[in-house]
């Protein structure tokens, strides 16, 4: 086996993994600040892609204007999701909230397709196709940019959770009622976390859209996102980052090693196996917190 090919796959895999982390961070962000398991993050990425395309293609705005506008729009949509769908479910069993995010996922995904159709559209952001060279290894330039953005986002989010608002959001995720009792506006906190998460989704949409175009496949990033989030621990931003790298490397090398043996589609199997293994070995992921059980 070509060790260089393996290394190159692993390196590019790590970069792709970091881009997965970008999706995972949206999930972690919401979970960490409101204990809501968000299964709509993939659909939000997809929606954000279409929104930016709408600004760029239909309103004929330059891409550098369409992206900020998309961010603002998604911020508002994030707030709207809390207001419309989640507020009434606060304090309800988590299974209903999970179902709600699934409902949102279906609605956003099918809704975007209804409006914009299913054909894949390119979202060029001016990154050249030519690869970077790291010694003998070829590196995808777009992946490298995405990975860089992911790391920046990671730093921003970690800092954010150290601020007073960040602490308040973490408090909300611990205990809604207790948060209300000390005057925290739980609704506003949850809305804020969805809004920020929608912004993160928009950034993921730009990067992923530039790599593979905007279509339904963006929504499928949810599976990568949740796998990474679980692997890293649902409430750990750092976990999401490292788990992304880990999953990316495993996926990258596995595709080289396993695809010839299994006849393709080994990535999905590897994802599922990682997920199951994580839960069997480290139920709360690499860095996830454990519940403190008291009766």
């Amino acid at each position: 086996m070509d060790i260089l090919l393996l290394l190159e796959s692993a390196l590019n895999g790590a970069l792709v993994g970091l881009m997965y982390s970008l999706v995972a961070m949206g999930i972690v962000l919401i979970y960490k600040s409101s204990s809501v398991p968000n299964l709509a993050q993939g659909a939000m990425v997809m929606l954000a892609g279409y929104v930016i395309l709408a600004f760029a293609n239909q309103l004929h705005l330059p891409i550098w204007a369409a992206i900020p506008l998309g961010i603002v729009t998604m911020f508002v949509i994030g707030i709207g999701i809390e207001r419309v769908a989640l507020r009434r479910l606060a304090g309800r069993p988590i299974i209903m909230i999970l179902m709600m995010t699934l409902g949102i996922e279906i609605f956003l995904r099918a809704g975007s397709m209804t409006i914009w159709g299913g054909t894949s559209r390119p979202l060029p952001i001016g990154i050249s196709d030519s690869p970077l060279f790291l010694g003998p290894l070829l590196i995808n330039r777009a992946y490298a940019v995405g990975a860089g953005v992911a790391v920046v986002m990671f730093v921003l989010l970690v800092l954010f959770f150290r601020t007073r608002i960040g602490v308040v959001l973490r408090a909300i995720s611990d205990d809604y009622t207790a948060a209300w009792s000390v005057g925290i506006s739980v609704e506003r906190g949850v809305a804020l976390s969805w809004a920020i998460s929608a912004v993160v989704a928009t950034i993921a949409a730009v990067l992923w859209g530039s790599v593979q175009g905007v279509d339904q496949s963006l929504a499928l990033l949810l599976l990568k996102g949740v796998t990474v989030a679980v692997l890293g621990g649902l409430d750990s931003i750092g976990g999401a980052l490292l788990a992304g790298i880990l999953l990316g490397i495993v996926e990258g090398t596995a595709s080289v090693v396993l695809d010839p043996l299994l006849g393709g589609a080994s990535r999905e199997l590897v994802d599922a196996a990682m997920l199951i293994l994580t839960i069997m070995l480290r139920p709360h992921g690499l860095f996830g917190r454990h519940d403190i059980e008291r009766v």
Partner: protein
Amino acid sequence: MLFRQAGILHTNYAQDRALFPIPADRWMIGGLLLLAATAPLYLNSLYLSSYLLPWLVWTAAALGLNLILGWAGQFHLGYAAVMGIGAYAAVHAQRAGVPWEIAIVLAGLTAAVIGSVFAFAALRVKGLYLALSTLALQFVMDWTISHVPAISGGTQATLQAPDIRLLGQAVTSDAGLYYVALVWCVLVTTFMLNLRRTALGRALVAVREKDYAAAVIGVNSFYFKLVAFATSSFIAGVSGAVLIGTFYHAVTPEQFSVDVSIQALAMVIVGGLGSIIGSYFGAGFILLMPGAMNSFISWLTGLFGFSLGIETLAHLPHALYGALIIGFLLLEPLGLGKIYGNVRDYLLVWPFGYVKK
């Protein structure tokens, strides 16, 4: 106003825990059973085999999922995979010459054994972690079924199911198949109704309310979760087999994909967690909705005289489906079963406003 409760007194504890102490409920159930039993007499075979039959089978399946979700409070995003295991097991058994009666039991047992794997995930994690691990198992099973030709009958292949034979008699008429589905649904319903009254049912509820506390009072949550997943998987497996035997007559991996799992989940949620009658409502609602949506859209377009693109027409029902799930959760998070319960309560206290606690 319909429910008369005076003069209901219990002279022993068995009566006190009777399923339907109120005569009006007993009358209603009797009436519904009679209607169901005579359905082939007054319904044409289109309605019978295209609406009523799948509704009954899916209700049985939804009840099995409700056992996990509503009673034991555990997530399960891989339910369709378990149904698929049962379906494939039954079809393969049948093709190997096993009589159908035994084949569906085998289907149930196979599903129960494999489905119990989910229980081991449930023992280690809760909440979203569990949801995702069950989802992962669904993917693994999908992958396995479609990538092992011995199971699927070759990639992308459709495996024909032999006709059902009961006691050596081929059951092929619409009415006959309908009765098979009806009997299975009634069996599962009866089981679920009685489950509430057993130690197992109460233990499951204890586990749902609080794992840790249940353990403290001596409820072995490991054992009960395992039993819950095994029982639910058994129901799923048989339901899958019955669905293939009476409705699809052939089995493909897509029939039990992750979308179907979500559909089953939607049935339970829309119907109401832990509500038996809700499972009937939920299954009926989710099954009927796509057809109703399409008719509704074409009615609308006809009404306003505009035409929709192919792509819009293809995706709009799906979007409305999502919107409906959202709407239901907002309107009544405890589902149609709860709405039924509210109406019933309203009539139970009639003409007064509320019950004194």
